[in-house]
Symmetry: C2
Subunit: 165 residues, 2 copies
DNA sequence: CGTCTGAACGTTATGCTATAACATACGCCA
DNA sequence: TGGCGTATGTTATAGCATAACGTTCAGACG
């Protein structure tokens, strides 16, 4: 499947964030329904928390916010919800940061490249198809069968790049 | 700089391992000397430990082996040596595994793609130039300035792929 | 030679990340 | 309505990483 057309790195652009969150929650609902899995209150709230900012949050950051809202305040509560979201492709784990981010275009089979701004910590997803193709080619040469890929890029987002001048 | 020519994913092939280790230690010595940094006994031993197998080792695994050899047995001892090796490009951190591996072709400026076999845990480096080019292209589109990349691939190495049939 | 200095190392203590294991509650449906 | 599978709550612990401080050591320089 090709990369989705619209706005790959939306996190880096000015946009109607309430609308972008609302839309993604609605998409998540639809996806969950179509797969007969349950987007329970905790899971939904965790997704909302991740969507509140385009930044990666640690599990304990999520947990703290959950606890404030009256959900359980022990680590497994957060980890289980996060694992669910990651399994369903509604969120991604950012290995480099030991943190999690909402997926901004769920429902597409994608192997995203995560762009992480080292100054403002904003994270965005770039289309990963071409990167993935390059990886597949190299793996092929080595006789290696690719199953999952992690592509994470540390650098400066457009705004911080300007500011850093 | 292009990817080094010889044997990108040596870890997956039968090879004279003693020779490969010895050669890499010698290279490390030369690199350290040329940069006026010191490959001290602890650092050298940590590199040897990483080289003993083509697998990624956790810091505490390294530490345990260090302690056996009479070096300090507290975490900072291992982490400091590992950080040094990573800084000098003599080792890589594998974010996905929270672990470390020896670099099999140090001294080249490379952005490696790490191939991780999910069955035997062997890790190898594939040339990352083409992958890096693809990343650069996507980042350019997003207006993002790339500084460092993490490319890690989980799957099956040639041997385990055979066995899995 | 002495001593100064900065790098490396040893040690204590602590913080952050993640999961095992078990108990409780809930939803579904036969 | 009783049974079953899924989800949640809770306790405890395991695994990964670093701050801070004191000591040691190698090399520079008078």
């Amino acid at each position: 499947m090709p990369d989705p057309a619209p706005d790959p790195a939306i996190a880096f652009h000015a946009h109607d964030h309430a609308h972008c969150c609302g839309g993604l929650i609605a998409e998540a609902e639809a996806i969950a329904a179509s797969r007969s899995v349950r987007l329970t209150p905790v899971r939904r709230r965790v997704l909302e928390i991740l969507l509140e900012e385009h930044r990666a949050l640690g599990a304990y950051d999520v947990l703290e916010r959950l606890a404030r809202d009256g959900f359980g305040n022990q680590p497994p509560v957060a980890y289980r919800a996060l694992d669910f979201l990651v399994d369903q492709g509604l969120a991604h784990r950012v290995a480099r940061l030991n943190a999690f981010m909402a997926c901004t275009h769920p429902g597409h089979s994608h192997t995203p490249a995560v762009l992480i701004c080292r100054l403002c910590r904003t994270v965005a997803e770039a289309p990963g198809s071409r990167v993935r193709a390059a990886i597949d080619a190299e793996a092929e040469t080595a006789g290696f069968a690719v199953e999952r890929t992690t592509v994470e890029v540390l650098g400066l987002c457009p705004a911080c790049r300007e500011g850093a001048r």
